[in-house]
Symmetry: C2
Amino acid sequence: MTTMQGVQAPPASDGVLQRELQQRRPFRSPAQEAAIAMLRTADVVRRRLAAAVEPAGITLAQYNVLRVLRGSNPTPLATYEIAERLIEQTPGVTRLLDRLESQGWVSRTRCTEDRRLVHCRITEDGLALLARLDAEVDAADEAAVGALSNDDVAVLVRLLGHVRQGCGAEHPTADD
Amino acid sequence: MTTMQGVQAPPASDGVLQRELQQRRPFRSPAQEAAIAMLRTADVVRRRLAAAVEPAGITLAQYNVLRVLRGSNPTPLATYEIAERLIEQTPGVTRLLDRLESQGWVSRTRCTEDRRLVHCRITEDGLALLARLDAEVDAADEAAVGALSNDDVAVLVRLLGHVRQGCGAEHPTADD
DNA sequence: GGAGGATGCTTGACACGTCATCGATTCACG
DNA sequence: CGTGAATCGATGACGTGTCAAGCATCCTCC
């Protein structure tokens, strides 16, 4: 890219990250530093969210499915529609739903008009569960970005959007 | 207050219904939007990196272990030291090493001075594998953040660093 | 209306993340 | 010296991500 660094990556954040890491060598490029920062940060945020949700007996992946279903409630969603709306794409939605249904948070019925489809809805118990978790999750979100000003949050969201576009992946960012 | 919307209003006490309607909005808070953006973006980036690495027959997690070992080469690392330096913390390093060793990318030897430790080193074949993958991985990194200016990359890295600190998680992440 | 293809879901296989536990080894302290 | 705590690692169990294959159902086109 630019000529300013050969092997030496210019410190995007004055080398703080690098120093924490006890790295013997700097990042090969700013792009690499950014990619690693994104993966690590998301890992930390995911952990934080999972910790907020798991005391209730569900995993973060299950929670996200419930959020999607709450967002469409009372209209049911087909399994593939849930998959499309999840943060992390996965063909494993069927199994997530298996466990959610066995715990009573979700109900499934075979669609009569198109028997290939399975209509999924969140139950009253599921809604109550989410309502109980909202505060915890909001707190986790706030903890994650609380150190940032409103402007910084907006900038962060915008830059991340550019990154997603650059990776050529763009599907809706929906949940509730 | 909230604009009514005639979807089958359940007889809820005001708070409940209002909450439902609020959740029809895209995001409940800027913090939530940012958290979701981070998770989704990292997912996209991880996919891109995994695609760059898996044609060579290793997973992204295995690749990251090899990168850590290359970073310390020729000094061997104990298993727990590898775990500390991985991007995503995991107690499963033993199993990652099992597969890497069986494929010949890594060699392990029981430490003679402290028999609890297992010294792990990357093999010559492992180094060659990484050398072959460097270009692919660099390209993936560039693809991810290529849409951003250098200044934007620096801003992104800085903001992500603040988020990590806010989550109160600081552990090392080294790779090469 | 019947054949072929597309669609939606399920299942199986494997790797990984996560937690709990256990065995082996080392070290600190009495 | 010997006991007990701490450390390191392996292992088992469970949920999930990922790919591939299989099955039922629908649709299109002949």
